[in-house]
């Protein structure tokens, strides 16, 4: 049989929706106006997000779970590094070793796979299932991510899809997808809160729906909170395994159990429920809304089946939450609807306006973060900021981009650090450096820096990987991560040098002000100590630079003491001891 296709007259391709979940994943599509979730070989619609190695082959889903030693919840690792606290926590419960050779890697019984590859295996399994079901290749998808996913996590998710030949039409936030599913079915109008408690993540979004436009006005989430935590507290309380705890949790949904009464369960789960409620409060405050302004609450994620969760929500809002659509499938359904809309079956009047989930900022003096794009700003967005040099003849400037809500660099996530070189030497304050940040509709960031008087340019940009072979892409990924590692080392060296040069400056000015406190011989010793320290700035090893700093401090110890004493003497001249002791002269 031959399929003859004219260019530009392709058979209408079907785009799918994928809910790539922490615990389970789903793939679904809309065909002839009907939404269908694809079933796996075992007849189930939920494919466990689990991997295992069987006879040298990576298997995914129920088959992996059957091995009893499946790698699970890799989504918790995506876009992260070994240094991340939650990666270390993950390692404690994981039967496999995680390493950080280049990309974050997992040793799956000798097969070393990256986290992106692990996600790609799951996506490939889903894609294969859908292709078998549809009897045609699946090339385009809308994939959902938690609203709270940062730039790195979004990019890694997109990379995983590209690895298995899926063109991502759009990444959409899971809660938004859920609202799409509900909104289109019911043509809802008003303000809605999406409460999404999945296996491993928790998200809240506030959406305003008007005339087919879905506007996300605020989002908040916790990538480390989910139904698994409820299993864990039961297991901890009763000293049973997680599997047994899960069964007890399910039985608790229909009343008291032998192990726990409903009332005890309520007490036990209170801290977790309280955490979600206080986040609800916060997100409503962000959106400048009161509880009464909310027209409905959409429940998403298997964990919202728990009556204690539903009751807590009902108590807080004073109304019953919406639970009509299967909470396990509602996200995939929204993704499938969006996929259909984007692949040409678009309804002109349907539109999804999204916001940035986290603020983007820039490191400023003293390790502080200045926000450039506040969270909950509609995307795509582009912002420009102008900076100048602060030293005469300065030819380079480091631009450090961070993501998060906190004030200091340490508490935010570093997204990119790059140096704009080749600024022509000018008087301090004369160069005009324009930094442009753009976030696209997927929430992925690009930063560009430009010196305006000469047009010197530097750019950090995650290029679209269309047309690249998977090998090339993996290489590219490796290269970028390796590069990032170099960056960390370079940064530490740079900081050490900065500290040393500050100490040298301080030593110099103290020396030139008060050298007469010392004998000529000692003056010579200190002058040469400064010279040695200046040579030390050239070291390319951070530890050597640090050693020079301690040496300089040691050399100047005695002199510093002499200066303090001299200064004290000065303040005491003409005063009696009593006054000074009372601290009145200070």
């Amino acid at each position: 049989m031959l399929d003859i296709l004219e260019p530009g007259q392709h058979k209408k391709r079907l785009a799918v929706g994928i809910d790539l979940g922490t615990t389970n994943s789903l793939i679904s599509y809309v065909k002839d106006g009907v939404h269908k979730v694809v079933t796996a070989e075992n007849g189930k619609r939920l494919v466990p997000s689990a991997l295992a190695l069987v006879e040298g082959q990576v298997v995914v889903g129920a088959k992996a779970v059957e091995t009893g030693k499946a790698l699970r919840s890799v989504k918790r690792l995506i876009g992260k590094t070994l240094q991340d606290e939650d990666v270390q926590k993950f390692q404690q419960d994981c039967p496999y070793t995680i390493s950080n050779e280049d990309l974050l890697k997992i040793d799956l019984d000798g097969e070393n796979i990256s986290v992106i590859e692990a996600s790609a295996y799951i996506l490939k399994e889903l894609k294969t299932l859908a292709e078998a079901d549809l009897n045609q290749p699946v090339l385009e998808a809308v994939i959902t991510v938690p609203a709270y996913f940062n730039d790195a996590q979004r990019q890694a998710t997109k990379d995983a899809a590209e690895l298995v030949g899926l063109n991502v039409l759009r990444l959409i936030n899971e809660p938004t997808a859920a609202a799409l599913a509900y909104g289109l079915d019911k043509k809802a109008q008003g303000t809605y809160v999406i409460y999404d408690l999945g296996g491993g993540t928790f998200d809240i979004s506030v959406l305003k729906l008007t005339e087919g436009v879905f506007k996300v006005v605020a989002t908040l989430g916790d990538t480390e909170l989910g139904g698994d935590d409820f299993d864990r507290i039961i297991s901890k309380k009763l000293g049973c395994s997680i599997t047994v705890a899960k069964q007890i949790k399910e039985r608790l949904s229909s009343g008291d159990t032998e192990e726990l009464t409903e009332a005890e369960w309520q007490m036990l789960a209170e801290p977790l429920l309280g955490k979600t409620i206080s986040m609800l409060q916060e997100v409503l405050e962000d959106a400048e809304l009161d509880v009464e302004d909310v027209d409905g609450i959409v429940m998403v994620g298997g964990s919202t089946r728990m009556p204690i969760v539903r009751n807590a929500i009902e108590r807080y809002f004073g109304q019953k939450p919406l639970t009509d659509i299967n909470p396990d499938e509602v996200v995939a359904q929204g993704a499938a609807l969006q996929a259909q809309a984007l692949s040409g079956g678009s309804r002109e009047d349907m539109l999804l306006l999204d916001v940035t989930p986290l603020s983007l900022g820039l490191e400023t003096m003293g390790g502080l973060v200045e926000k450039v794009i506040e969270r909950n700003t509609p995307i795509p967005i582009s912002r420009a900021q102008e900076f100048t040099t602060f030293k005469d003849g300065q030819t380079a400037m480091t631009i450090h981009v961070l993501q998060g809500e906190r004030e200091t660099v340490e508490e935010c996530r570093s997204l990119a650090k790059f140096t704009l070189k080749g600024i022509p030497p000018m008087v301090a304050g004369e160069a005009r450096i324009m930094v442009v940040y753009s976030v696209d509709a997927d929430g992925i960031l690009k930063v560009k820096a430009l010196e305006k008087t000469t047009g010197t340019e530097a750019e950090i940009e995650v290029k679209p990987s269309y047309g690249l072979s998977p090998e090339k892409m993996v290489d590219m990924l490796k290269a970028s991560v390796l590069h990032a590692k170099d960056d960390v080392e370079e940064r530490m060296l740079r900081e050490a040098r900065l500290e040393l040069s500050r100490a040298i400056e301080a030593a110099k000015s103290a020396f030139s002000a008060d050298k007469e406190l010392l004998e000529i011989e000692k003056q010579k010793v200190l002058a040469s100590a400064i010279e040695t320290a200046e040579q030390g700035l050239k070291h390319t090893d951070k530890d050597m630079v640090d050693a020079c700093l301690s040496q300089l401090e040691k050399d100047f110890e005695e002199f510093a003491e002499a200066r303090v004493n001299a200064a004290l003497k000065k303040t005491m001249v003409g005063k009696n001891i009593d006054e000074v002791q009372n601290g009145e002269s200070v």
Binding site: E285, L351, L352, P380, R383, A441
Partner: protein, 197 residues
Amino acid sequence: MNHCWNCKGSFEKASVFCPTCGAICGAYSGDYFELFGLEADVNVDVMALETAYLDLQKKTHPDHFALKSLTEQMQAIEFTALLNLAYETLQSPLKTAVYLLKQQGIDALPERGGDTPPQLMMKSFEMHECLDDIESLEALRAYKKQIEAEEKELIEALAADIRNASFAQAVEKTVELKFMATFFKELRIKQKKLKHA
């Protein structure tokens, strides 16, 4: 003169879509008010802004270009980024005032910040004292209402100044409006504290 990246044609009046070939042109050359078809004023017709914004989004959002060429996608991203910025600006009277003054070549809120006028300084002291003395949520709500009314008056006066081209006064009022915006943040923090107490 505007140039279309697609058909290379040129057109005089600022337009989101090329009048000749209909391609989306990211580099819109008009100002924010022109974009939404609104009158240039600090007091923006909020309903009209919302309608015009959604209408433009429906035509230009990158989602509608998901299957189009990469160039078209980039043009759509460029335009909607501008659209979102314009929308955000006109939604806020403070940002709108800064924008209008900038059109006059005036930087109302310079980066380094000028000296705070003594009058505003006094007002700030008084308002902070009032805030410190408040101990109940009801009192805070009442105080917030009062400040909101004052803010509204200030916006009206600022709008009039700009209409009358009294730019020096407009700058002063813009600085005051900025101070009030910061004060509202403090109000919210206090509100949070009282709620949790």
